[in-house]
Subunit: 276 residues, 2 copies
């Protein structure tokens, strides 16, 4: 592994590392925030998954997460959003290929060779973090938009593995919206039954663990009614009696201005669970 | 004027406007943060000046200023760092021309036609802000690196006009360091006497107002000993008995990670002065 960046931040250190992922079969950049507490103790880990077109840079430069992570003593891990680099298949569209992994394991050519972000985020990345940094095995996960989808799906499919989960403006019913349908058809094929394990609203129905969800949307989000559809999450949670805190924040859009404004409340949520 | 961006942020609004500057003879982008309090009252204004290579975007996306401005009810105005666009003379160097105005009034061709950022920031910009937004005429100013130089020079040369001033990693003795010497020779010519009105350490000696300075540097700043030279500011302030709070922050570098980490304390400083 190689350290590409290293900056003091709120008494701790914001770094970017590059390591080889065997699962993805490429080098991956990962943002790692070590809070001040990590200089003399092991700290819980909060995983952040970014949205379409992002890299590891967006969250670490614009989300304002370090201040709040320092308060609770949380390590924050923000990986790149897809395999990337020479030899990785891509598309010309912003919503397919690099920067658009949808955090699943692709089964279809040509994607299946590298696009296995689910296995990377759930298994390989935490093992690497816990082996190389002063981390405990207490984990939580959150994300934005496509990354909110990733966080919800990953928490729902791995009972007991995460202490808490939250999302900013997540895609919750990818099987029913254009971004998800396009990506799932390419990565998973035409059989819509194979899409269900990657769809939050479908997973809620039979979730083996009723981990509470904290989900914020802005009511000025330009993707709200076409791609995000929070009403489907609300209906799925009501039908399954799944605990959900769903908030529509007045005035906010889909940008990192929305994320940074609510970041403190989301890290309060995770801090309470991780330090319990 | 045209509104290019508009995002809810910490209960207020972060916008970017484009307006025609008569002083600079070009269109200028300006970031304007209106705190929640601005929806029903006039608010004091804090001016931010960014450093080399920046535009209005750096501070509004990465400095974490909105949270603290919202707490005190301050409008924050972050202009672009130089005239910019077609027809504006530039250089191929990052430290001369666009993005490198040094916030002075150039006297030499070909720069003098547009590079008059001092007059723009001191006069034209505040007039435009106070005419178009719910602003009082209470003003403070701060900035980073080249913009820290700009903030200090502007406050020192305009007694009574600013309630407070502070700087992150400012260039304080441009006449004595490579960045400043290169820019001043191009913009002001070879006569070093003409450089003195644009040099903080030279201005301190006979400052008509002893407005206290809050100045932070990171001790891991790669420009500390070559371009920034805080020891010259300390000596100038001691010689003139000018009130200075000069701090060397352990571990911090020259980046926005440094700025965002200390932003709360700087806005505490300005908030106390502006709401006095």
């Amino acid at each position: 592994m190689e350290r590409l960046e290293h900056h003091a931040s709120f008494g701790g250190w914001q770094s970017v590392y590059r390591h080889h992922s065997a699962v993805l079969n490429c080098a991956m950049n990962v943002g790692i925030y070590l809070p001040p507490q990590a200089s003399n103790q092991r700290c819980p880990v909060l995983y952040w998954l970014s949205g379409l077109t992002c890299t590891e840079q967006n969250a670490i430069t614009k989300a304002g997460l370090q201040q709040h992570a320092a308060k609770y003593g949380l390590i924050v891990v923000a990986p790149d959003t897809s395999p990337r680099g020479e030899g990785i298949v891509d598309s010309e569209d912003y919503d397919l290929g690099m920067g658009a992994s949808f955090y699943l394991n692709a089964t279809q050519p040509p994607w299946a060779a590298h696009y296995r972000m689910y296995d990377y985020v759930v298994q390989e990345l935490p093992t690497w973090v816990e082996n190389n940094f002063p981390a405990t095995n207490a984990r939580s996960i959150f994300g934005h938009s496509m990354g909110g989808h990733g966080a919800l799906v990953i928490a729902l499919r791995n009972p007991g593995r995460y202490r808490s989960v939250s999302a900013f403006a997540p895609v919750v019913a990818p099987s029913k919206v254009p971004w998800g349908q396009k990506a799932f058809q390419a990565y998973l094929g035409d059989d819509q039954l194979s899409w269900q394990p990657w769809d939050t609203c479908a997973l809620i129905q039979s979730a083996p663990e009723r981990l509470p969800l904290l989900v914020d949307y802005g009511d000025a989000d330009q993707f709200l009614t076409t791609q995000l559809r929070p009403e489907l999450l609300q209906a799925a949670c009501e039908a399954a009696n799944h605990p959900l805190t769903l908030r529509l924040q007045p005035g906010y859009d889909h940008s990192y201005y929305f994320i940074s404004s609510l970041m403190g409340e989301h890290i309060d949520w995770h801090g309470a669970a991780l330090l319990d």
